[in-house]
């Protein structure tokens, strides 16, 4: 049903993807599987710039025509960028979840990214 899972990213069991950017920040969003399960996304609530977020805790929400889901912080850190474009055009998360539909960048311990799920491990959590 969903497209392929990018192997260069890391993942959480709560369906977030995580990427270390060129300038050492940690960017995350929700996976293609997650956006497909939600359906048409119509509202997004992101944490404020400068907010401290905690690994495994909700830090925002994505809401579709049919349901609402928390966004879970993949790691603990400080919000240094938010993708404001997805608040005005939330459908971008449906159409490009790993690209233009990214959600938040944080400053956090980059070493912890390696402890998150690999693409293969994530795929095994969503295959039925």
């Amino acid at each position: 049903m969903s497209g392929s899972i990018p192997t260069e990213l890391r993942y959480t069991a709560e369906h977030e993807w995580v990427q270390v950017t060129a300038d050492g920040r940690i960017r995350f969003g929700i996976t293609d599987h997650a956006q497909d399960a939600l359906g048409d996304i119509v509202y997004v609530t992101l944490p404020a710039l400068g907010a401290t977020i905690t690994a495994g805790e909700p830090c925002g929400e994505v809401e579709s025509t049919k349901s609402v889901s928390d966004i879970y912080s993949p790691l603990s850190g400080t919000v240094v960028a938010r993708n404001d474009a997805v608040e005005t055009s939330p459908e971008t998360i449906n159409s490009d979840p790993y690209g233009a539909g990214w959600l938040v960048e944080i400053e956090a311990d980059v070493a912890l990214v390696d402890e998150l799920l690999t693409a293969a491990a994530y795929e095994s959590t969503i295959s039925v």
């Binding site: 049903m1 709560e14 369906h15 599987h33 997650a34 399960a37 939600l38 359906g39 048409d40 119509v42 509202y43 609530t45 809401e63 025509t65 049919k66 349901s67 609402v68 889901s69 459908e91 449906n94």
Partner: protein, 372 residues
Amino acid sequence: MTNSDSNAPAELHSPLHDRHEALGAKLGDFGGWLMPIEYGGTVAEHTAVREAVGVFDVSHLGKASVVGPGAADFLNSVLTNDLGRIGPGQAQYTLLCNEAGGVVDDLIAYLNGPDDVFLIPNASNTAQVVDIVRSVAPSDITITNLHRDYAVLAVQGPNSAAVLTALNLPTELEYMSFATSQFVGAEVIVCRTGYTGEHGYELVIPAEHGVALWDALMVSGAAFGIVPCGLGARDTLRTEMGYPLHGQDLSVEISPVQARAGWAVGWSKPAFHGRDALTAEKAAGPRRSIVGLLGLERGIPRQHMNVLDNAGAVIGEVTSGTFSPTLKQGIALALINADAGITIGSEVVVDVRGRLGRYVVTTPPFVDANPR
């Protein structure tokens, strides 16, 4: 990220199930039937119905025949609406109430003649409707549950007539009138009705011919922008119109007087189930009523969320809530206590998971539409 509204697996498949799977539909349980929630996305499907045309498989809806001498008169003493207001070839929205005035089901009655009425109840209530009607029927009136014998397709939207015309199906029908026609050798009932607020038709055809009709609609509809639509879009479309959904906005607990469905009650009839209780409730005034709520800020109200007054007191509950794809705003139907003193135009608050959002009280529909 999962749908948690169904536990038991849906057992029944529509005659069109293979088509839905081939189209990659997301399927969900509707009254024990595994039916399409969406194909390409609820918003696009909703928009297609408002601007062009969509086709819905609603074969999960119940079907039952009531046949025998005086079948229509008999039903008129059971169901709330007055079948005397319509003639053969017309259909009517009506209710089956219990003696307390609660709504067992809302349904469409197709009046074939004084001795023959066809009923379309909701999927999950069909067996109960058949049982109740049968239990009070004279011995020479036969009630037959035909739930799995027919496919039902709804063709809805401004281009719906053009799609049917291309298949030589009748379209020049008054609102809530129906005609019987032929399609590939099968009898098909075409009714000018729907649940979307747009000009549209519901087609009832023997189950074994459902796939052929679906395929023909998709082919002839291509030139008119036809889109297969799931029950997710059906829900957003009907909510924009303020049409009640049984089990949410109308139920055994929510009477037609409370649901502002009194227009579907033949008050002057000598008998119908629930007459005494409903007449008394109407005279006294309902203790609560359904109103529309239009969001003034972000957020989507959902069923069972509390409605508060400006002082923070709970004054009611959301019965249906969604995102309106047309308005790009949260909308809801809500049951508000009469003693809260709320009037049309009042501002109220909905507790959306702890965030308080402002809503204005309205009379639906929320959008301009043209069902007739």
